[in-house]
Amino acid sequence: MVEVAFFFGAIGAIGGALAVVLLRNPFYSVLALVVHLVFLAGIFLLLLSQFIAAAQIVVYAGAVMVIYVFVAAYVGGIEEPMFDSSPKLRIFGPIIAAALFIEISIAVLGSSLTALGTEGVAKVESGFGTPEAVGRLMLEDFLIAFEAASLLLLVAAVAAIVLAGRKDETTGPSATVPAGSTGPGEPG
């Protein structure tokens, strides 16, 4: 049963990932990433990480992807002349990626960690992966990381406003909003 669930989730996650890379329209790539994240959350559940799976759905597939959808719709479906200007990377990119995959697989499977062939420790402590356990770890053992994360999010929010905010009067004409000529195209 676990095997069926794993391979179902793995095929969905890999299919979504391939669709992100291969689909030509950025809008569809965003939607493919949502599919990928949902299937990946299912795999997280198999690893007894309930809270992370829920956070993945809520934060990633929910909030972050909404930003992506807005930006992809705002800048429009740029018809990318896919790979035209970099034929070398078009050939060597997948080869390098396949080599990287083989290398990581050899490094992982060839390691002397015999526990990798097992399903992990047989008996995890009760409450493993629940919000209670993760929250306890986060607010007791990793409090500094937690506070640093909150500061990082604040800085990121300020940076987004500074980068994407309108600067109509203060800067030159190059900063003005394009008036319709290069407006957002159709998402589809």
């Binding site: 690893l47 992809a72 990318e80 062939g117 992990g120 800085v155």
Partner: protein, 99 residues
């Protein structure tokens, strides 16, 4: 399921994202492929967390989620700023920073 399977899956997701970063030219899609690489890393950390029965890896994955959110906000802010200034949305065209 043995933990090996999860690790191989995470390596595969990381490699697919890596290929996308190399091959695609639209900055939005490059950011999406970076998300793929991050999720591959997150899956590996959760696998080892399960392997050891230790929750520390899960906290680390939450930190990865936070960093990814910050990266997305800044990256997409840059994309919007590029679009406003009519800079072509093509990572191959951005050569001004070349040293």
């Amino acid at each position: 399921m043995a933990i090996e399977w999860y690790l191989v899956l995470s390596a595969m997701l990381f490699s697919i994202g890596f290929a996308g970063v190399l091959v695609r030219r639209n900055p939005v899609v490059v950011l999406l492929c970076l998300e793929l690489m991050l999720s591959g890393g997150a899956l590996a950390m959760l696998s080892f967390s399960r392997l050891h029965g230790d929750g520390d890896g899960q906290v680390f994955v939450l930190m990865v989620l936070v960093v990814a959110a910050a990266e997305v906000v800044v990256g997409l802010g840059l994309v919007v700023a590029m679009f406003r200034r009519r800079i072509p949305l093509d990572v191959d065209e951005m050569k001004e920073l070349r040293g």
